[in-house]
Symmetry: C2
Subunit: 444 residues, 2 copies
Amino acid sequence: MKKKIVIIGGVAAGMSAAAKARRTDPDADIRVYTDGEHISYAGCGLPYFIGGKIASEEKLFARTVADFAEQDIAVKILSRAEEISPEKGTVRIRDLAGGMTYEDRYDRLILASGARSFAPPMEGADLEGVFSLRTVRDSLRIKTFLQTRRPREIAIIGGGYIALEMAENFVDLGCRVSIVERGSHIIPNMDEDMATVMQRYLESKGIAVHTGRAVRGFFGTQTVGGVHTDKGDIPADFVLLAIGVVPNSELAASAGIDLGVKNAIRVNERAETNLEGVYAAGDCATVTHLLTGKETYIPLGTTSNKQGKAAGENAAGGNAAFHGVIGTGIARAIEMEVSRTGLGEKECQAAGIAYVARRIKADTAAHYCPASREVYLKLIAEASGHRLLGAQIVGYEGAAMRIDMLATAITVGATVEQLLDMDLAYSPPFSPVWDPVLVALNQF
Amino acid sequence: MKKKIVIIGGVAAGMSAAAKARRTDPDADIRVYTDGEHISYAGCGLPYFIGGKIASEEKLFARTVADFAEQDIAVKILSRAEEISPEKGTVRIRDLAGGMTYEDRYDRLILASGARSFAPPMEGADLEGVFSLRTVRDSLRIKTFLQTRRPREIAIIGGGYIALEMAENFVDLGCRVSIVERGSHIIPNMDEDMATVMQRYLESKGIAVHTGRAVRGFFGTQTVGGVHTDKGDIPADFVLLAIGVVPNSELAASAGIDLGVKNAIRVNERAETNLEGVYAAGDCATVTHLLTGKETYIPLGTTSNKQGKAAGENAAGGNAAFHGVIGTGIARAIEMEVSRTGLGEKECQAAGIAYVARRIKADTAAHYCPASREVYLKLIAEASGHRLLGAQIVGYEGAAMRIDMLATAITVGATVEQLLDMDLAYSPPFSPVWDPVLVALNQF
């Protein structure tokens, strides 16, 4: 008899799982349920869609329901999973269009229910013009609001990657932008000395960056007029909540599935939950941090694809492992780029790791090339033995992607001394004769 | 008594050696002789200087004679070393301005005499309009010729990196460009399947690429009118010889210093020659290929800096090693980039290494981003164990610098399997969710 694999969730992890399950078992009955109307969309592209850099909505969709049907993968949109009954091996689905519910049986279940924007209960959060950005639907609502109401004063609550990307796109649209961050610096997953380079750049572009300010709520009549903070009001006729996401794990929890850090669904490296035959992957699930060995929650599209692929392969009878992440991230705001990988200074301190950090300022290309611009690069290594633990970069075009060199080095456990004389690519338009990475390595 | 360190050569290796010797021994008497009039210049920048992308000659100079004097390093320009007497510990110097010769004593001698353009004796090579490009003086002569004679038909002899860079700059200047390469494909240090991607691109930009054609000489009356090849003539009112360089090692050889592959001065990883107290570094010296373990000759600015630094440190009493290279290279022609590291297929075959190669075509950024363009990436790994041996990239903006990730991996001996699930940076303007490197790794 055919194995029946049911997948809950139709974006990165869910559709990666479905495609890999099909490749692993050509005969399996594979069914995907999603409560959304769009599948397999590029969530990370939404800021650029809002900014008009991606011309049409269609470009955001990697593959359609029809594409998956050709692979004999049945995708049911607008179909919400409401209850899992592990003892019966069934899921209760609500058809959001018709309103009816029905049960479906599974041999293997993959939870890829994603995450939702974190929106703490705050006064005025229901005013018109207060948005979060997670789905294609969110982006369409925002685009409509921007086109019909033409807001000029944008307040972005939260100072992470989404804030940087949306700041760029709002500036492109001719808006004034404020960023309101509760912590002492923007980009919470970077160290303060690096994050402040980006902060100064944003300010030089006319973006108001308010750090150390807690949002109390929003004011306005019907439409938002501004943000109440603990240190005064900030006028705004558009507010974007970008203070992070929380995993959609309630359905799993109520079925007796263990949750882990930050209430994400706890999985092992095979993407298995504590219930046999039930897998989880993507923004709803935990992942192992390869440097600390600890369970963590870092929802990202790349991880969703890899973990979803492992879940799909294993659910279909394969034997795949997704070992974990090292916390690599990258973002751009206008012309300045940031990236990071591994552990930052704060994380080393929290983990009780004795480390050495070195920071340099260098050029992205040969100093005499017009394209050459400044880059700041920080490396963090174990105090004893100098194994690389982390890296952070802030700089102009060409700066940030150098993080992948360091992610590679960290992945294989390289030490500073192994890399000191590395034979890196050199040609004037691409790098100085001593690449910034080599300059930094030579500071240890 | 102060140690006296004499350095012959004032560009990358020589001046790196001088600077490092000074940092290692603050008291040493350090003297640099160079037969040129310019020191510490950016040889790799000359194509862009000719093309006008680097506005002024001054920008090419990293540091001046006065800068070095401030560090108490004496630099004598227009001073040619004519003879080394190891038994006496002296060098005979000719003052090219005054014509006199004199002897100078050394405790430690560093040979950093560089390389010169290879120019086989050919009929018509002395015609006006036939140039090679190695020094600032060459570039000034070429600029003058371009400005006064306004050539329109450029023939570049040789199809390596310099040809690509000069093709870009001549196209920018509005010239028609032909590239004449004796081998079966351009970019001899890449595999044919990758090199032909660049070749098709150049042709799409109106550049004539003639492969498999041997140059017999040049014709013209006083000024060059074209190139004789074994398969017919190619009209040209400007010819650039870019068929490689040969090491300036004759002075060393006549002093009893061993030469190695391609007549480069043989050095060990401490940059020592066979004569005690005599070091060599840069484009005049050999270097170890870290993958084959063999002596090789790959003259490059990055290597000159690193090897020069080691020579300077050791001559001043330190204990430095420069272990070698893996053959990393990068170049751009207009909008297309190429890069390579490690061993290519031909090199594996020549070395008798059983290998597996995988080639993919992918995108440089998320498919829906306007900046996303195509990239071809090839990985080569040992057949048994899958240790990475080499990588080659051809593609549009953002493609080629990914080679540094693979250079890092090869440097530390990583296997394909160690890197399969690497946590690389992802954001739509920078990469697709599966970076091309991960796509290629997943083909093994």
